[in-house]
């Protein structure tokens, strides 16, 4: 006697590579304000990104992971989330951070080697800081979502993880808990085809990342991560579901990492120029720009103004960032515990005496 248990994941896409609709667009496309705001954020993100890379090249910033190719996904996340939701990012979520209200200056501080980059997040004080150990943030996301469930709140969590990260136990254990406990969390697995030099194909034998949801009893969706409408619709739906107590969702957002892994990497070692060129042909910012043009919502003058605005915003942030002095070395012990334990007092005194009053 045989029975068959069937499962599926859907994939969705609205815009072709040139920004032409392939299908009826979702309702959100009618919200011109939202779409324009999204576009502006994507451009600002890309402008910022180029600047940070330049700072790094001139020794004014540390190792930095470019967001190139992720701008659409992050923007959609930032827009779909409510202020009261909690964002649990990974390290390539600059576009979302902009909309969550993390200062550009803070982002610069962080990558500039200053802990204060994760400190003063006054617009999103509950959001988690960047998590460097891959996929570990997924456990935090289900913890935050558990707290919401325990307290009966109508809020949700969005957690990002890379395609590489979906191989790590933390992600897999976490989606399982999300399914077992019906937690209000949306996992966004950003499949940019690479984990440093490791291609998506070596990461897993699964045909899609979205189908990992099935192992946890969750709905899984695959969306074109360069299609603003597709990703936004998937996020809106999943977040509504989560806030309404209907449980978690895994969204695989497919894109391509257009830059090196970080400024310390050289991607030409492991991928071809043709691959990269093909990926640029699917760029989500260009696609949305085309769509805006086609719908008379955008023109060259507006583009020029936006570029200038974005540059000015970024320049101001860089100026602010460069003006900030390093913390005194005593900061390295002062935030470890709520109150400095007696055992650390002598060490703190040594720091003070070594650095004349704790100045660096």
């Amino acid at each position: 006697m045989r029975e068959r248990h069937e499962f599926h994941v859907d994939s969705a896409r609205y815009l072709d590579d040139h920004g032409k609709p392939m299908d009826d667009l979702p309702a959100l496309a009618g919200d011109t304000g939202r779409v324009l705001a999204a576009y502006r954020n994507m451009v600002l993100t890309r402008t910022f990104d180029a600047k940070v890379i330049a700072l790094q090249r001139t020794g004014k910033c540390g190792t930095y992971p470019s967001v190139l190719g992720h701008e659409v996904i992050g923007t959609a996340i930032g827009q779909s989330m409510a202020k009261t939701d909690v964002f649990v990012p990974y390290y390539r979520d600059q576009a979302a951070h902009m909309l969550r209200g993390v200062g550009l200056r803070e982002m610069l501080l962080y990558w500039g080697g200053d802990e204060r980059g994760s400190a003063n997040w006054k617009n999103c004080p509950e959001d988690l800081p960047i998590s460097v150990p891959i996929a570990t943030q997924c456990c935090h996301a289900v913890g935050v979502a558990s707290a919401m469930r325990i307290r009966g709140e109508e809020r949700a969590v969005v957690c990002c993880v890379g395609d590489g990260g979906t191989s790590k136990g933390d992600f897999l254990e976490s989606i399982n808990l999300a399914g077992a406990w019906h937690l209000p969390v949306v996992f966004v697995a950003i499949n940019n085809h690479w984990a440093i030099s490791t291609p998506r194909s070596l990461q897993t034998g699964a045909e899609t990342i979205a189908q990992k949801a099935i192992s946890a009893g969750l709905p899984g969706h695959m969306v074109d991560g360069n299609d603003y409408f597709a990703i936004s619709e998937a996020l809106d739906t999943a977040l509504e579901r989560a806030r309404g107590g209907k449980g978690a969702t895994l969204i695989e957002a497919v894109t391509y990492r257009l830059g090196d892994h970080t400024t310390a990497d050289d991607a030409t070692r492991y991928r071809t120029a043709e691959d990269l060129k093909r990926a640029w042909g699917k760029d989500g910012i260009k696609r949305l720009q085309n769509w805006l043009h086609d719908n008379d919502l955008w023109d060259a003058a507006k583009e020029k103004a936006l570029q200038a605005d974005s540059k000015a915003t970024v320049e101001q942030a860089v100026e602010d960032y460069l003006a900030i002095e390093a913390e005194p070395p005593t900061a390295m012990v002062d935030y470890l515990f709520e109150t400095l334990p007696p055992a650390l007092q002598t060490q703190r005194e040594r720091i003070v005496s070594k650095y004349r009053g704790g100045e660096s």
């Binding site: 003063n120 509950e126 334990p341 007696p342």
Partner: protein
């Protein structure tokens, strides 16, 4: 705090009592782990909590220690105070990345914006005739990690007071419960919600000739050795370190300044055990006070044997006596 009911309880019952008290008085306290709700924990440490506080606050998790450790971090950033149980210390290892890289650092990383008031509980130590991996005492691994507190009670009263303190502490605490003495003795504990300090060693017995420094289940053998030695006219000061990290060096150094001699006793293997830090600190700071080298009585530098031979691994009363005789002779 108001006067509370007096109860004769074992160490594990004191743990349970503290959990009840704090869950009753602070709705942010939640408890999670494997088999801790319906079953009340494999050692019964969490028995009754689910009935009283419900499944929302008393959570049986899937079998996943990374998750237990990391989910607690997420909960804590929302202002909950998770008390997470690892069923045995031998199964805490999968949780280490979350504990070391996140729980211990969230406050520092965010300059205080978020913090992790988590207690990670685990029964630890050998001597209960359990299978492999059920006898670990690797407290040294956690003691070396900045941002963590490591606390080990060795009596029902200290279990009650230290666990309350650990839960109330705004930073993560590794709370290790010596399971060999979970039910060894009962002690009268006042259920009054009074916490003990988290940065002070406990002097269990005063003496002039030698300072015996220990913690966990080894406190039992150390006190027995002190008893034996007193019949030989040697008076031992016995200190239960209890708050392993950050370490209260003050109390230890004061005692050694008086006695001039120290013997450290712990169950963990010697190489790089917490005894090394204590010995190094004493030898450095009490150099001129010392009449004899600081000696360590510890487990051997090997894996805890399966149970037929576990007694041969554990430090015994006579090992302690012998060590004291040795340092006294100098």
């Amino acid at each position: 705090m108001s006067k509370g009911e007096l109860r004769d309880v074992t160490l594990v019952e004191a743990v349970n009592m503290a959990l009840h008290w704090e869950m009753q008085h602070d709705e942010n306290v939640v408890v999670l782990g494997e088999d801790i709700a319906t079953n009340g924990g494999v050692f019964r440490a969490t028995v009754g909590l689910k009935e009283k506080f419900g499944f929302k606050r008393v959570m049986d998790t899937p079998l996943a220690e990374t998750l237990i450790a990391g989910t607690s971090v997420g909960m804590a950033t929302q202002g909950l105070k998770p008390v997470a149980e690892f069923q045995f210390m031998g199964f805490i290892y999968a949780g280490i990345e979350q504990i070391v890289s996140h729980a211990a650092r969230m406050r520092n990383r965010t300059r205080g914006r978020l913090h992790c008031p988590i207690v990670y509980r685990a029964p630890f130590g050998g001597g209960i005739h359990a299978p492999e991996h059920h006898s670990e005492s690797t407290e040294a691994l956690f003691a070396h990690i900045p941002g963590l507190r490591v606390v080990i009670p060795s009596s029902p009263q200290r279990a009650y007071g230290l666990l309350l303190a650990a839960i109330r502490n705004p930073d993560p605490v590794i709370f290790l419960e010596p399971k060999r003495i979970y039910r060894a003795v009962t002690q009268s504990v006042e259920n009054n919600g009074e916490a003990l300090p988290l940065d002070t060693c406990f002097t269990l017995r005063e003496g002039d000739d030698v300072t015996l420094i220990t913690w966990g289940a080894s406190v039992t053998e150390t006190l027995q050795a002190a008893d034996k030695l007193s019949h030989q006219g040697v008076t031992c000061e016995v200190i239960d370190v209890a708050t392993i990290s950050p370490l209260d060096r003050e109390t230890l150094l004061c005692s050694v300044a008086k006695t001039g001699r120290a013997v450290i006793v712990h169950e963990a293997c010697r190489n790089g055990g917490v005894g090394a830090e204590i010995a190094a600190s004493i030898a450095e700071s009490a150099f001129l006070d010392l009449q004899a080298p600081v000696v360590r009585v510890t487990g051997y530098d090997t894996v805890m044997p399966y149970y037929r031979n576990e007694a041969a691994y554990l430090p015994q009363v006579e090992d302690i006596v012998e060590a004291v005789e040795q340092v006294i002779a100098l």
